[in-house]
């Protein structure tokens, strides 16, 4: 079939042609246009010691923007800017790179990059949730920016591997994976609520691809740890993962208890409370199983389990925090659709089926 496609594409290529008359006509039009406009290219070859850029308008403009940023409230406006806002470029192209530059070490920088990926996806979810759309240009620019930031997060992780900080690399990979999986689910849910919302196919496709590539990276790191002849490398990774899981689980349980004791004030109940309880119980069982594997000497299998637990926890955390991070329009609440069969809100995410589509 592939060969068939190739030959058919070739046929299209050969068939879709401009006739000589058409070529001549458009050539003539272009020449007319060129004659109307005087040709005056000003390309210059610059000396490597050229300092003129200090005085060029772009540099001056950038300087002015920098002055504005540091002396006025633009950063404040830019910080909450969404992809379809005027200040968005300032946030992504100026403010955030500066913050990254100021972040001291590789581990923190890579974590920051993961946080930026999460931020990008939350901004996009916010746009979709608001029922707004991105112009084609904004969408291209946004998906490019998102792909680039995911790529940079991957590069940071690879660098951590090169520097042999395997536990850190694994932890950051799990964080990234959780962020991607959670946002994928969130976008899907928003679309269930509002089928007319912005078409998210392009962003979802970036997320899906990134989940795949992050899984490959994660497998490579796990393999590196597993084939390491140094037993302490494996022990360190397990210890680091366990520590991370314990912290996450404690935080999640605290938050869960707090939410359960408070009246539900959330406008958008993204995560179903009962499902969180059952997911936590499930995770506790998995932890027990992983612990048993460690005791039984099956450390490699244990590490795989801990990784999975870490990702699941991260994903739940991201989902739980979605209400806090997404600013929900009041009108969304009133029009919330109900499941025809159960009468329940469609919004709560079924944690049991988080991986249902994988």
């Amino acid at each position: 079939m592939e060969n068939d496609f190739n030959s058919q594409f070739k046929k299209i290529k050969e068939s879709v042609k401009l006739s000589e008359q058409e070529m001549d006509f458009h050539r003539g039009e272009i020449v007319k246009f060129m004659d109307r406009k005087p040709s005056s290219f000003k390309r210059k070859i610059r000396s490597p010691f050229y300092l003129g850029f200090f005085f060029q308008k772009h540099f001056i403009a950038t300087g002015l923007v920098a002055v504005l940023i540091f002396s006025t409230g633009i950063t404040v406006s830019a910080d909450s800017a969404l992809p379809n806002d005027y200040f968005y470029q300032i946030k992504t192209k100026i403010t955030e790179p500066v913050l990254l530059f100021l972040t001291p070490n590789l581990k923190s920088r890579t974590s920051k990059r993961v946080a930026l990926v999460e931020r990008r996806l939350q901004e996009y979810s916010q746009v979709v949730l608001n029922g707004e759309t991105l112009s084609p240009e904004d969408k291209i620019s946004f998906t490019n920016q998102l792909s680039l930031q995911i790529k940079q997060a991957h590069e940071g992780i690879s660098q951590l591997v090169k520097e042999e900080s395997l536990p850190d690399a694994l932890e950051t990979t799990n964080d990234l994976q959780s962020v991607l999986a959670a946002q994928d689910t969130i976008l899907e849910k928003i679309h269930e609520v509002n089928p007319d919302a912005e078409n998210t196919d392009e962003v979802t496709s970036v997320i899906t691809e990134s989940i795949e590539s992050t899984t490959t990276i994660e497998n490579n790191i796990t393999e590196t740890v597993q084939i390491s002849t140094d037993e302490t490398e494996l022990d360190n990774s397990i210890a680091s993962q366990k520590e991370e899981i314990t912290k996450s689980l404690e935080g999640l349980q605290e938050e869960n208890q707090r939410d359960a004791s408070e009246e539900n004030k959330d406008k958008l109940d993204v995560v179903n409370q009962t499902n969180i309880d059952s997911k936590i119980s499930e995770i506790n069982l998995l932890i027990e199983e992983a612990d048993k594997k460690v005791v039984g000497g099956e450390k490699k299998k244990a590490l795989e389990l801990y990784n999975q637990i870490d990702q699941d926890l991260g994903e739940i955390e991201s989902l739980i925090h979605v209400e806090q991070k997404l600013q929900i329009d009041d009108s969304v609440d009133s029009d919330e659709p109900k499941d025809q069969t159960t009468g329940e809100d469609l919004l709560p995410i079924d944690l049991e089926n988080l991986h249902g589509q994988e």
Binding site: M1, S19, K151, S205, E212
Partner: protein, 167 residues
Amino acid sequence: MKQGHNDKNKFIESYDLYAEAIFRYCLFKVFDRERAKELMQETFTKTWEYLEKGKEVENLRAFLYKVAHNLCVNEIIRPKSFSLDEMSEKVNFNPEDKNSRSPENETDISLLIEKMKMLQPQEKEILTMRYIDDLAVAEIAELLGMIPNSVSVKIRRAEESLRKLYK
């Protein structure tokens, strides 16, 4: 353009070299032969204007594709689908080409175009760039601001989607 681009003749030579490819690229974006010709022409005039401002273009081919891409994106996205006959009429295969005039060939090509139109915009774009415009993976990556690996994956997936549409 790296050298001698202060020469109109050089620019016209570039037109002779790339016009057809840019036209094809636009045609598979807007599916309207007349509009694709206009967009192709506009791509060259916009590029000329850009060069006139004294700005540098390292890779003219890639630059032309970028301009064409932006122009096509600005076009109204047409939700209506064309019938096969309309599609063939709009794409207007070269009547001089005897091979493509055989009914079998025309049906194959029309069918492929129809299927291509059903693909996601990016899948359609990436297949056009790879197989109709003969761009290398690295060139597509540069044009779309992606990494070459992602481009390869996208090509494979687009082929898969196309194959599914044939089933």
